[in-house]
Structure formats: C-alpha cells, structure tokens
C-alpha cells in the first residue's frame, strides 16, 4: 500500500494551472480571439464614430474615460467567463477537482485571466490614446488605475465564472451576476481616469486608488474564502 501523501501545495498547483491555461490558449486562441477582436472592433467603431475631433475639449476627458472602460469591461465579459465554464462543458472539471487544491485552481485561473486582460489592455490603451487623442496629464496615476481596474475586472469575472459554471443558462447568469458586481469599481475607475486626464497632481486621485485597492482586496479575499464551497459542491 502506498504511503500517505500530503495534499498538493497551492502555489505549485496555481503555477501549473496558470501555465496550462496559457498553453491551451496559445494553441486554441479561443479567448484571445474573442477578447482582442471584440476590443479592437469596438475601438475602431468608437474612433470612427466619435474620434478626437467631435468632442468639445471640456467633454473629452469624461467621454474618453467612459469609452475606454466600456471597451475593457465588455472585453472582460466576453472572454473571461470561459475559464470555468469550459472545464464543466468539456468534462475536465472532475479530473481537476480530484487533483488540485481548490485555492490553487482559483489562483491559477485568476492569474491567467489577469494576464489575458492585461495583454488586451496593453494592446488597446495605446491605440485608444492615439486614435481618440486622449491626453493624460498624470501618466503614473493612469497606469496605476489600469493595473488596479484590470485586476478587479479579472478577479470578479473569474469568481463569477466559477459561480455560474454549473448552471444551465451560464451566459445570461454570468452577465446578471457580473454587471452589478463590476459596476462600483467601474464607476470609480472612470471618475479616476477623468482625474488622471485633467490633473497632474497624483494626490487628486488617491481616493479613487484607495477605492479600487479596497474593492480588489475584498473581492479577491471573498473569492478565495467562498471558492472551496463553489468548486466542490
């Protein structure tokens, strides 16, 4: 009879899940295609219809901030729900449940979604800034907001995807659950981006940074506390 073995560590399992997610994505490009194509299509549409010249200078920061986060938000909604849904639909969830610690699965998938949404952000934001003539007065604040906002979007989307993965109407349920969960940080991110576009003083945006840090912390902590029950039941 084999000797007793300890449960796998969270970090090695998370790294393995993260690597597998990216390798699978590299080979199939399902989420990447939907994320990038959606983001690029919306960006081109917005740039063509609105562009840098059709907005009055005083409206530009607000409208551009809203449009930028709309692109990122709907990209997250389009591509990130797949992470757990695909495991259930493909029948691989049982193998993963028996093999990996739940927190390792969540962390690996969260990191993979952060990487995917981060790549979309890195691709879209410079294009958006150029095509829309979006002037940023405080680039460090803007970059920090993008980091925090992207992480929050990825974290909430990943956990919501886990919640709905066993439901029958997954797509509709994902939107119904994710939109109210994501609205508060989105409002904060939009207002903060407007501040970054209009004021060069970093301290003007620190309240919004605190809000986003708090949101990311609460959502991620809640996800790790609740995931075990969601994943194994």
């Amino acid at each position: 009879m084999s000797a007793p073995r300890p449960a796998a560590g969270i970090l090695p399992a998370a790294i393995a899940v993260f690597r597998r997610e990216l390798l699978a994505e590299w080979r199939t490009r399902v989420a990447v295609n939907s994320l990038f194509l959606f983001a690029f299509a919306v960006l081109v549409l917005v740039a063509y219809a609105v562009g840098p010249t059709r907005l009055s200078p005083e409206d530009r920061p607000t409208v551009n901030a809203v449009l930028l986060w709309i692109v990122l938000f709907f990209s997250a909604m389009t591509g990130l729900s797949r992470t757990f849904v695909h495991e259930e639909d493909a029948g691989t969830a049982a193998a993963l449940r028996l093999s990996a610690p739940p927190s390792g699965v969540l962390l690996g998938k969260l990191l993979a979604n952060v990487a995917l949404l981060g790549a979309v952000t890195v691709f879209i934001v410079p294009l958006f800034v150029v095509l829309m003539g979006f002037e940023i007065m405080d680039p460090p604040l803007f970059v920090l907001l993008l980091l925090l906002g992207t992480f929050g979007l990825a974290s909430a989307s990943t956990f919501t995807a886990a919640l709905v993965s066993k439901a029958s109407a997954k797509g509709a349920l994902f939107a119904v659950l994710a939109i109210p969960l994501l609205l508060p940080p989105l409002v904060g991110a939009v207002l903060a981006t407007r501040v970054a576009a209009t004021e060069a003083d970093f301290s003007a945006g620190t309240d919004f940074v605190r809000l986003l840090v708090a949101y990311d912390g609460v959502v991620t902590t809640a996800a790790f506390l609740l995931f075990d029950a969601v994943w194994r039941e």
Binding site: R27, T92, A94, A100
Partner: protein
C-alpha cells in the same frame, strides 16, 4: 485500509441509488453491477467524493492514521484515482503533457521519463502521445490515457467506471494489469455492465 458505505444513498429529486451498505478491505476489488440508470456511476462519484450523499455516509479508514472514525473521501482526493466515460482530460494538450500537468497539480515532482513510461504501460507508444493533441487520439486511446491518469499518483482507492469501454482485447488486458497492480496498493471499485469487467471483482454489489 477499508472503504465502508453505511446506508449510502443519493437522490436528484428522485432516488438515484441506495441505500446500500458494504465494506471493502485493501487488496480487494468490488464490482458494482446494475442496469442502465440504476445509479452505478452516481455511486462511484459519491464514493470518490465528487458528489455528496443524500443519506448515509462513506468513510475510508486508514490504519494508524485516523482516530477510528475514518475520513470522508472528499477530504483525501490525493488518495483517489478515477477513470470514467464522462471524465475528460485536456484535449489541446498531448497525453504526455496531460500527465505532467496532473503530476504538477498533485504536488508530485515530474520526472522526464515517468509520464512516458506510464503511457507506454497502458500501451501507448511515444509517437501516439508525444506530438499529437489528446483530442486527435481515438476513443480507445483516450480511454488508455484515462487509465494512466487514474493511476498516475499511485492512489489508495481506484474507481473505474466502465473501464473496458471502447477498448480492444489488448486494452482489456491493460485493465486487468491495472487492477492487479492496484490490489497491491489498496482498493479497487469497478462499475460496469460488462461481465468481463465484473469478472475482475472479488465481491459484488448489484443496484436495482
């Protein structure tokens, strides 16, 4: 080691199986028989901890490791091996990459030749698993990969649902070999309608 089911049952609105009671000792093979829809797969999933029972309980007793009350299967997933028709591995990875991935998430240190040796042990030569994605293999070849997956971590309890499904005669002899090896390690539970699978069992539970 001992696997004990006490009045175990599961319902999904209507009764899926049970209540059933049995006890299996290490080195033994339990066969679960029954008609289609009698709840064989659900019983195996309940015993493996993949779903909770509606009534009764399943306990695993490890000698010298528990306080006499045993533990629930869902609390010791690293000691359980599982292969079933509705189990799927990652189709976009090769069979070898699948083995290495599951070694890593189980906390085992992947050694270069181990996954390959395991796959060769279930009759898959390197050219069938080192380059092609799993999704391009035949159903029978994928069933062999599932057997390798189930025994990858040398589990104490091995649950095989329809293990001979889609396998040719050579594949069936691999099932026999897997079960014989598991006898040395612990307990095997086989659910099947096929008399050739059930012939491997020492004792039998029939669901109605």
């Amino acid at each position: 080691m001992r696997l004990v089911a006490e009045n175990l049952s599961r319902s999904f609105g209507r009764r899926a199986f049970g209540p059933v009671s049995f006890s299996v000792e290490a080195g033994r093979v339990l066969g679960v028989a029954g008609e289609n829809g009698s709840g064989k797969t659900t019983l195996l999933k309940t015993l493996a901890g993949l779903i909770r029972p509606s009534g009764g309980r399943a306990r695993i007793f490890f000698e010298g490791e528990d306080a006499g009350d045993g533990c629930e299967p869902r609390d010791v997933p690293w000691r359980i091996g599982w292969a079933a028709p509705d189990l799927a591995l990652y189709g976009e990875l090769t069979a070898e990459e699948n083995m290495i991935f599951f070694e890593r998430v189980r906390g085992l240190v992947p050694t270069p030749g181990r996954a390959r040796a395991l796959l060769e042990g279930v009759g898959l030569p390197p050219d069938s698993h080192s380059k092609k994605p799993l999704s391009s293999l035949s159903t029978g070849q994928r069933q062999r990969v599932k057997l390798a997956f189930a025994t990858l971590h040398e589990p104490d309890l091995l649950f095989l649902d329809e293990p001979g499904a889609n396998l040719d005669e050579a594949g069936r002899s691999i099932v026999q070999k897997v079960v014989a090896e598991q006898r040395l390690r612990g307990i095997t539970v086989i659910a099947s309608n096929d008399p050739r699978d059930l012939a491997l069992a020492d004792e039998r539970v029939t669901l109605s």
